[in-house]
C-alpha cells in the first residue's frame, strides 16, 4: 500500500466563501491521503464542510488554498477543460437524488459520459448495456427513469458513474433518499465494485452505511477530527450497537480517548 501512489492526496486544503461579513471559512487545513482500492466514509454534521470537501475532490470546485493531487496529477493548475476531462475519466459521481436525465432511457443515461469521451454509438450502447447488466437492470435498457424505483435509479446512476471505468467513485449520500433495505442493496453494489479495486469515497450520515467502508473520516467545523479504520460492533462488544439514522456525532469512535467523544474539545487532526 505504501509503495503505491495515493489516488487522492490533499494538503493544507482551505476553502472560504465570500460573505458580506467577510470571508467565511468552510475548510480549514484539511489533509488527507487515500490509497487505491480504499473505501472511505466521510461523516460529519451538516455544515461541517464535508460537501465542500467532496466538491473539491470531484473537481467541481477549487480550494482557496492548499494542494490537491488526484491520481498523481496536481489539480490546482488544471484548466476547466482538463478538469472536465478528469470528471469524465477518472471520477464517477453518485448523487443523493440519483440525477438521471428524465427524458432519456436508462441505456442513454448510462452511456452519457461516453458521449463526452468520444466513444462511437455502437460501443456506447454495448458498454451501457453491459453496465446495466452488472447492476441487475439489463432488462430495463429502454425504460425511462420515472418508470423504475428509487433504488433501481440509484443503481442506474452507479452504472453511469462506472461506465467510463474511473479509478474513483465519489458518492454523496447515495442512500439518503432510499429506505434501509434498498440502501443496503445499493451498498452491496459499492462493496462489489470496491472489491474490484475501485476507490470509493462516500459521504453519509448513517452509521450503518458507513460501516461498509473500511475507513471513516469525520468532519467537524471544517476540520477532520477523526480518521481511522471502521470499527465493527462485533469487534468490540463493549460498545452499544450503533443506532441507524440517529445523530451520528460522537457515535463513531475516535481512536484516542483524550480527543473527547461528544465533539467537544476535538482538534483538527494533523
Amino acid at each position: 500500500m505504501a509503495a503505491s501512489q495515493p489516488v487522492i492526496r490533499v494538503e493544507g486544503l482551505h476553502k472560504s466563501y465570500e460573505t458580506p461579513a467577510g470571508p467565511f471559512p468552510v475548510l480549514k487545513d484539511v489533509n488527507l491521503s487515500i490509497a487505491p482500492g480504499e473505501f472511505v466514509a466521510v461523516m460529519g454534521p451538516s455544515g461541517s464542510g464535508k460537501s465542500t470537501f467532496m466538491n473539491i475532490l470531484g473537481c467541481l470546485d477549487r480550494p482557496s488554498a492548499g494542494h490537491y493531487v488526484l491520481d498523481g496529477r496536481s489539480v490546482d493548475e488544471l484548466s476547466k477543460d482538463e478538469l472536465a476531462l478528469l470528471r469524465n475519466r477518472t471520477i464517477g459521481f453518485v448523487f443523493q437524488g440519483f440525477n438521471l436525465l428524465p427524458r432519456m432511457n436508462l441505456e442513454d443515461n448510462v452511456a452519457l459520459p461516453l458521449v463526452y469521451y468520444g466513444v462511437d454509438r455502437e460501443e456506447r450502447r454495448a458498454r451501457a448495456r453491459e453496465m446495466l447488466q452488472r447492476v441487475g437492470l439489463g432488462n430495463y435498457a429502454k425504460s425511462l427513469p420515472n418508470r423504475i424505483s428509487g433504488g433501481q435509479q440509484q443503481r442506474v446512476a452507479i452504472a453511469r458513474a462506472l461506465v467510463n471505468q474511473p479509478r474513483l467513485i465519489l458518492a454523496d449520500e447515495p442512500t439518503g433518499n432510499l429506505d434501509s433495505h434498498t440502501g443496503e442493496e445499493v451498498m452491496t453494489l459499492f462493496d462489489e465494485f470496491n472489491r474490484e479495486g475501485i476507490t470509493i469515497v462516500l459521504v453519509t450520515h448513517e452509521a450503518d452505511i458507513a460501516r461498509h467502508a473500511k475507513r471513516q473520516v469525520r468532519f467537524l467545523d471544517g476540520c477532520i477530527v477523526h480518521d481511522g479504520p471502521t470499527e465493527h460492533p462485533d469487534d468490540n462488544p463493549s460498545h452499544p450497537p450503533l443506532v441507524r439514522g440517529g445523530a451520528d456525532l460522537g457515535r463513531v469512535e475516535t481512536p484516542s480517548p483524550d480527543k473527547g467523544r461528544d465533539g467537544e474539545g476535538l482538534a483538527c487532526l494533523e
Binding site: G58, L60, F93, N99, L101, L112, P113, Y116
Partner: protein, 406 residues
C-alpha cells in the same frame, strides 16, 4: 459526438413540441415575409427595368422651343427651331450612336370598315435603332423611302389590332386623310411607357412623307423633336454638352440668350424610376427583416427559458465530464435547428406565396436564387446569434449551483 448531440437536441425539442413549434413559427413567418417581400420588390424592379429598356437606352430628346404670337406662347415644340440638318450635324458628334428626327402628330386611319386614330411619327429608319424597336412582321422603311417620300407605314400592335383584327396587315393599304399608305410591317409590342402611355398605339412613316404629304409645314425640314442615342451611359454628359454647344452655334444664339430648344435626358428619368423601385424593394425587405428579428428574439427567449429549466441537467452533464463547449454546442445546436427548420418551412411558404401571387394577380413577382440564399443565410445566422447568449449562459453555469438547482 455531434450525431449524439443532434439526437439529444431532437429529443429536447420533441419534449416540448408546442413550444418548439411556436418558436419555429416566428422564424417561419420572418423568413416567409422576407422571401415574399423581396420577391415583390424585385418584381417591381423588374417591371421598371422592362419599361425603361422598352424606351431605348441612353436617350436624349431634343424638343423645339416655343413661340410667342400675340402674347400667346405655344409650348415646347411650337417653334420650328430644330431641323433635319441639326439632326444630321448632331449625328456627326463623337459619342453619338444614332439620331432620329421626329415630326409628330395624330392622324385618322381607315382600313375597310374600321378606322382608328393614333400618334403618327414621321421619322427616319434610325428611329427603330434609337428606340431599340424590332419588327414583329414585315420590314422597316429605308433611306430611299425617305428620299422619295413614299407613302409607306409601320404600325404598332394596338393599331394593327384595331384596324385589322386577325388579318395580317403587312402589304395591305390603309387610308390616312386622303392618301393611301401601304403597311410595310408591324412593330414588336412594347407595352406601356413609364408614364403609362401605350407605346404600341403608334404609326411610323418616313419623315419627308409626314412633312410634305400628311401634316404639311411652312418650314421645310423643321422637326418637333430629335431623339439622340449616346453610345454609352457614361458618355452621356459629354454628349449633352457638345450637343448643346453645337445647337447654340448652329442657331446663332449669343452668350446670355436662352436655348431655343429643350433637352431631356431620359436616362435620368429611367434612373430615378429605377431608384424608386430599388428603394421600395429595400423598404419591403427592411420591414420583413423586422419580423425575422422578432423571430430571432423569440428563439433567444425560449432558449433562455430552456436553459433555466434544464439547469439541473446541465449540472449533471458538467459533473459527468462535459466541457463548457459541449454544453454550448448542445444549446447552440438546438437554436440552429429551430431556426434552420423554421427557415426552410418559411422559404417553402414564401416561395409558394410568391408563385401563388404570380398565378392569381397581374403583379410581377420575381424569386431570385440569391434572395432565397440570403434569407437562408440570414436565418441561420439569426439562430447562431440569438442562440449564442443562452447557450453561453448554460455553459458558464457553476456545476455545484446547477446541481443544487431544484
Amino acid at each position: 459526438m455531434l450525431a449524439a448531440m443532434l439526437g439529444e437536441a431532437w429529443h429536447a425539442m420533441g419534449a416540448n413540441r408546442l413550444r418548439t413549434f411556436l418558436t419555429m413559427l416566428g422564424m417561419v413567418i420572418g423568413v416567409g415575409a422576407v422571401v415574399l417581400m423581396m420577391a415583390v420588390g424585385q418584381g417591381a424592379q423588374y417591371a421598371v427595368s422592362q419599361s425603361i429598356s422598352s424606351m431605348g437606352s441612353n436617350l436624349f430628346i431634343l424638343i423645339s422651343g416655343s413661340t410667342t404670337s400675340g402674347g400667346v406662347r405655344s409650348g415646347s415644340g411650337g417653334a420650328p427651331s430644330l431641323t433635319v440638318v441639326d439632326a444630321e450635324a448632331i449625328a456627326e458628334l463623337p459619342g453619338v450612336q444614332a439620331v432620329a428626327p421626329v415630326h409628330t402628330g395624330r392622324t385618322q386611319m381607315v382600313y375597310g370598315p374600321n378606322n382608328w386614330s393614333a400618334s403618327t411619327y414621321g421619322t427616319t429608319p434610325s428611329y427603330l435603332d434609337v428606340r431599340s424597336w424590332t419588327m414583329a412582321s414585315g420590314y422597316p422603311f429605308t433611306e430611299s423611302d425617305l428620299r422619295s417620300s413614299t407613302r409607306v407605314a409601320l404600325i404598332g400592335k394596338t393599331v394593327a389590332d384595331n384596324l385589322f383584327g386577325d388579318e395580317d396587315p403587312v402589304g395591305k393599304t390603309i387610308r390616312v386623310g386622303q392618301s393611301p399608305f401601304m403597311i410595310l410591317g408591324v412593330l414588336a409590342a412594347k407595352g406601356q411607357s413609364l408614364d403609362g402611355r401605350d407605346q404600341d398605339d403608334t404609326m411610323l412613316i418616313p419623315l419627308t412623307t409626314a412633312q410634305r404629304k400628311v401634316y404639311g409645314t411652312p418650314f421645310q425640314g423643321a422637326v418637333r423633336m430629335i431623339m439622340v442615342q449616346a453610345e454609352t451611359a457614361s458618355g452621356m454628359p459629354a454628349v449633352e454638352k457638345s450637343m448643346v454647344s453645337l445647337l447654340r452655334q448652329r442657331h446663332r444664339l449669343r452668350e446670355g440668350v436662352d436655348n431655343d430648344f429643350y433637352l431631356r435626358n431620359l436616362a435620368e428619368v429611367a434612373d430615378s424610376a429605377a431608384e424608386t423601385a430599388r428603394i421600395m424593394s429595400m423598404l419591403l425587405g427592411a420591414i420583413a427583416s423586422v419580423s425575422l428579428l422578432v423571430g430571432g428574439i423569440g428563439i433567444m427567449n425560449i432558449m433562455l427559458v430552456s436553459v433555466t429549466e434544464r439547469t439541473r441537467e446541465i449540472g449533471i452533464r458538467l459533473a459527468i465530464g462535459s466541457r463548457e463547449r459541449d454544453i454550448l454546442l448542445q444549446f447552440l445546436l438546438e437554436a440552429i435547428i429551430i431556426s434552420v427548420v423554421g427557415c426552410f418551412i418559411g422559404l417553402v411558404l414564401g416561395v409558394g406565396g410568391a408563385l401563388l401571387a404570380n398565378a392569381l394577380t397581374d403583379a410581377m413577382v420575381v424569386i431570385s436564387g440569391s434572395s432565397v440564399l440570403v434569407a437562408f443565410g440570414v436565418a441561420a445566422s439569426v439562430g447562431v446569434f440569438f442562440g449564442f447568449y443562452p447557450a453561453r449562459k448554460a455553459a458558464r453555469l457553476d456545476p455545484i449551483e446547477a446541481l443544487r438547482y431544484q
